[in-house]
Symmetry: C2
Subunit: 439 residues, 2 copies
C-alpha cells in the first residue's frame, strides 16, 4: 500500500479538538500545505511524514488567539504601575510614547512580543497601535498570524499627522496585505471619546470597502461612559448605533460598563466583544458582564491588552483570571466554567476575528495553528480534567511547541523564527532611553 506523504505528523498526543468537546487520547494530526489533512487515534502508519513529533505525555490544542493587545507596548512593561489612571497616563505612558515611539521601537517591541506570545501559546494576535506597518512586518518575520490596524483619533499621533493621513495609512495597509496568509488588516478608531463622529463613520466606510474588521475600545471605564453621555446624550453603544457602525464586523474591546440594553444591541447586530480581565483589574476599570453577554449569545473573545496594563501576554494566566474573577464578583462558583474560558481563547476568539472557518479548533481542512503543552510536570499532576488543568494549573511556560499556518515556529522550547537574544539586547538599549524620558 502506498503511503501518503505529509509535511508534519504529530502523534501519540492528547488532542483537544474544541469540536463538541472531543478529546482524542493517543491521537495524531497530519499537516500538509499549512492545513490539517488528517486527525485520528493511534493508527498513522499509512502516513509518510517529512517531519514527525512524538507527543507522548503532551497535549496538542488550537493555538490561542489574543484578541486584543498593543504588542509593542512591551516597551512600557513595568514602567509605571499602581498609580491613579490619569497620573499613569499623563505622567508616564503618554510622554513615554510621544518621546520614544517610532518605527524601530514598534518593530522591535512587536518582535519581542511575538517571542513572548509564541512561548506562551498564542498563535494569532489582534493588534492596535501606531506604525502598524511595522507590526505587520514583525509578525510576518515571527511567522505569527496577526490582525493589524493603525489606531486613529482626532489628534495627530507620532505616526500620522491628520485624520486623512491616518485613513490613507490604513487603506495602504489594507492594500499591502489583502491576500496575505498571515496578516489581516483592520480599521481601528481608538474610542468613542477620542474620535469625532465623522472619523468613526469614515472608519466604518473604509472597513466596508475592504470588508475588514472595524475595531474600537468600547465602554471601558465609567469616565468614558460619562464623557460620551455628556457630549452626545447617549451611552457608548447607543452612540455607535446612532452613527450606524454596529455590525457583525465590529469588534468592541472591553465592554466593562455596558448596560442590559446595550448588551441586547450588541447581540442584535452580531457585534463581537473582547474581554481583557487582567487589564480591567489592574487599571481598576471594573468587571465586564461577560456571563450576561454569553447568556445572550454574544460572541466573546479574550485578550491580554497591552503590557503597560497587565504586564505580560500570557493567555493561560488570562484564562485563569477570567474564570476566577466572575466567580468572586458574582459570589457564584458556577458563573464561568473552565471550558467556556478555553473556548473564549480559541474558537470564540476565531469568531471574533471572523476567522472561524480557518482557526480555533482542530478539524480537517482548518489551518494548522497548533500548540503543544508538556503535561509531565509536578504542577500538572495528577490530571483529571483537561479544561480545568489548562485554565487553573497550566501557565504559558508549559508550552513547548508551536505551529502556525503549518510552519514550526517553536520546537522543544526553541524559537525558530526569532533570535531572542538579539531582540532582547536591542530592546534593552532603547528601553534605557524610555526610562530616561519619563524619570
Amino acid at each position: 500500500m502506498k503511503k501518503v506523504e505529509v509535511d508534519l505528523l504529530l502523534y501519540n498526543g492528547t488532542v483537544l479538538t474544541l469540536v463538541s468537546d472531543q478529546i482524542i487520547e493517543n491521537g495524531f494530526i497530519a499537516i500538509t500545505g499549512g492545513r490539517i489533512v488528517a486527525i485520528g487515534q493511534r493508527y498513522h502508519d499509512q502516513l509518510q511524514p517529512k517531519e514527525a513529533w512524538d507527543l507522548s505525555s503532551s497535549l496538542v490544542m488550537p493555538g490561542l488567539i489574543n484578541a486584543h493587545t498593543h504588542a509593542a507596548m512591551v516597551f512600557f512593561r513595568g514602567l509605571a504601575d499602581d498609580l491613579p489612571l490619569m497620573e499613569w497616563l499623563e505622567k508616564y505612558i503618554f510622554p513615554a510614547e510621544r518621546k520614544n515611539v517610532n518605527e524601530e521601537l514598534v518593530y522591535l517591541g512587536t518582535l519581542l512580543a511575538c517571542a513572548e506570545m509564541i512561548r506562551s501559546g498564542t498563535t494569532t494576535f489582534c493588534d492596535m497601535y501606531i506604525f502598524e506597518k511595522e507590526v505587520a512586518q514583525a509578525a510576518k518575520k515571527a511567522g505569527m498570524r496577526a490582525v493589524v490596524g493603525e489606531v486613529l483619533y482626532d489628534f495627530p499621533s507620532p505616526n500620522v499627522k491628520s485624520i486623512d493621513e491616518g485613513l490613507q495609512y490604513t487603506a495602504d495597509l489594507a492594500e499591502m496585505w489583502k491576500n496575505d496568509p498571515l496578516i489581516i488588516p483592520a480599521v481601528e478608531p481608538h474610542a468613542t471619546y477620542t474620535c469625532s463622529p465623522g472619523l468613526i463613520k469614515r472608519c466604518k466606510e473604509l472597513s466596508d470597502v475592504y470588508s475588514i474588521p472595524l475595531i474600537i475600545h468600547l465602554s471601558e471605564t465609567e469616565s468614558e461612559v460619562k464623557l460620551v453621555k455628556e457630549k452626545h446624550g447617549l451611552t457608548p453603544v447607543f452612540y455607535l448605533d446612532h452613527l450606524g457602525v454596529l455590525s457583525e464586523r465590529l469588534i468592541a474591546d472591553h465592554c466593562v460598563k455596558v448596560t442590559e440594553d446595550e448588551m441586547e444591541l450588541l447581540k442584535r447586530y452580531g457585534v463581537k466583544v473582547v474581554h481583557c480581565p487582567e487589564s480591567n483589574m489592574k487599571l481598576a476599570s471594573g468587571v465586564a458582564p461577560v456571563p450576561e453577554l454569553l447568556a445572550k449569545g454574544v460572541v466573546v473573545g479574550l485578550g491580554t491588552d497591552g503590557c503597560a496594563s497587565n504586564n505580560n501576554l500570557d493567555m493561560f494566566q488570562e484564562m485563569d483570571t477570567a474564570a476566577k474573577l466572575h466567580k468572586v464578583y458574582r459570589e457564584d462558583p458556577t458563573a464561568m466554567n473552565a471550558i467556556s474560558v478555553v473556548k473564549m481563547a480559541t474558537i470564540n476568539g476565531a469568531k471574533v476575528l471572523g476567522l472561524e472557518n480557518d482557526l480555533g479548533s482542530i478539524e480537517v481542512g482548518k489551518k494548522a495553528d497548533l500548540i503543544i503543552i508538556d503535561l509531565n510536570k509536578p504542577h500538572l499532576t495528577p490530571l483529571y480534567n483537561h479544561y480545568s488543568q489548562l485554565v487553573y494549573a497550566v501557565n504559558g511556560s508549559d508550552v513547548t511547541g508551536s505551529i502556525i499556518d503549518g510552519r514550526v515556529v517553536m520546537r522543544d522550547g526553541k524559537l525558530t523564527t526569532i533570535d531572542e537574544k538579539i531582540v532582547m539586547k536591542e530592546v534593552r538599549r532603547i528601553a534605557r532611553n524610555v526610562s530616561k524620558s519619563v524619570l
Copy 2:
C-alpha cells in the same frame, strides 16, 4: 591575605533584600552553616567558596512563604471545579478524602507539592491537613521548611478517631520536631463552625504549652459567619475573643468577611492573617479587606490554599492576583501596590509564622532561604522596576534555583532532593483510584 572559606557563594546577581527596599546590583551573598554570612556589591575576592554560582542576568530574593496550604490536596487538583460549594464538597472532595486519604497519599502528595513549590519559588509552607506526621517527613525529605499541624475538629478524621486522639497526635508532633531546623509544629483547629468551644480552648492550651502557632480558618465565608452567629450569638472573631484564644501566636486564614470591629480586635491582639485571593475567588467566597487590615497595621501573609481550590501552588501568580484583585474590587489602582504584595509573600509571611528573625529578608545572620529568578526572558524584558516585574510579569516557572537552610534544593532547574519522575508516577497510580472513587 588569608581568604575566608564559605559553603556557597552567589555572585554577579541582582539582590532584592527586602530590607528598606534595598536592591544591590552586581551583588553577592555568602552562605555558611545554613546562614547568610556576607552580602555586598562586586568585591568577593576575599572569599573562598566550596561552591559558587554566577548569577549574571538573574535576581536573588528571599524564598517565598506560602502561609496557608493543604499540600497533599494536589491529589484533588482539577477533580471537580466550577460547582456550587456544597455540591463540590459533599459530592467530590469529602468522599474522595474519606475513601482515599491515608499515610501513603499524604506523603506522596506532599512530596509532589514540595516539588511544585520548590520549582515555583516557595521555600517555606504552612500546612494544615491530616496525617501531618507524613507531611513533616515529606517536607524533611524535600529539604523544605514547613509548619505542620494536624487539622482537628469535633468529628473523626481518616487519621484520628476522637478529639483526645487528635490532641495527642498534635502533642506527639510537637515533641518529635521541637528542635528541628526545618519543621515547626503547630496546633490547628479547623474552624469555628467545625470545632466545639472546648476543642478550641484545648488547642489554645496546647499551643501555649509548646509555645507554637495556633492556626484556624476564620471568617472565610458568609455562611460561616451566619452559622457562628446563630450558634454563639457572635461573629467569628468576637467568638474567638470570647473563648480567650486571640493572641500574637494565632494565625487566622482567609478573614474574608471580617467587620471593621473585628479587624480592630485582630490588630489589638496582634493576630496574624493569611490572605488566599485565588482560592477565595475560585470558591466565590468574597474579597478579604486586606488594604484595610494593612492600614490598621495587621500583619498579613499570602497563601495559595490547597490545590482543590486554586489549582496550583504558584505564589507568583498569587501575588499577581492579590495586587490586581484589590484594585478592581475598590475601583482604585492604588489599592495594593507591587512592593506590598512582595512583602506579604516574604517578610510578612515570616512574621505571620513568627520566624522573622530567621526568614523573609536577605540579611547577615538570617537563614539562607533564597531563590534565583532568570530575568533574561522575553516576558521579563525590559526591566524598569523589580517589584512590578516580580508581581505582574514573573511566573513560578522563571525560578531556576532554590536554597533552603543553606542547602541547594534546586540548581539550574533540577531538583536535588526529589525524584520527580518516580513521585509523579506513584501519584498517578493512586489518582486513578481517587478518580474512580467519585465518578
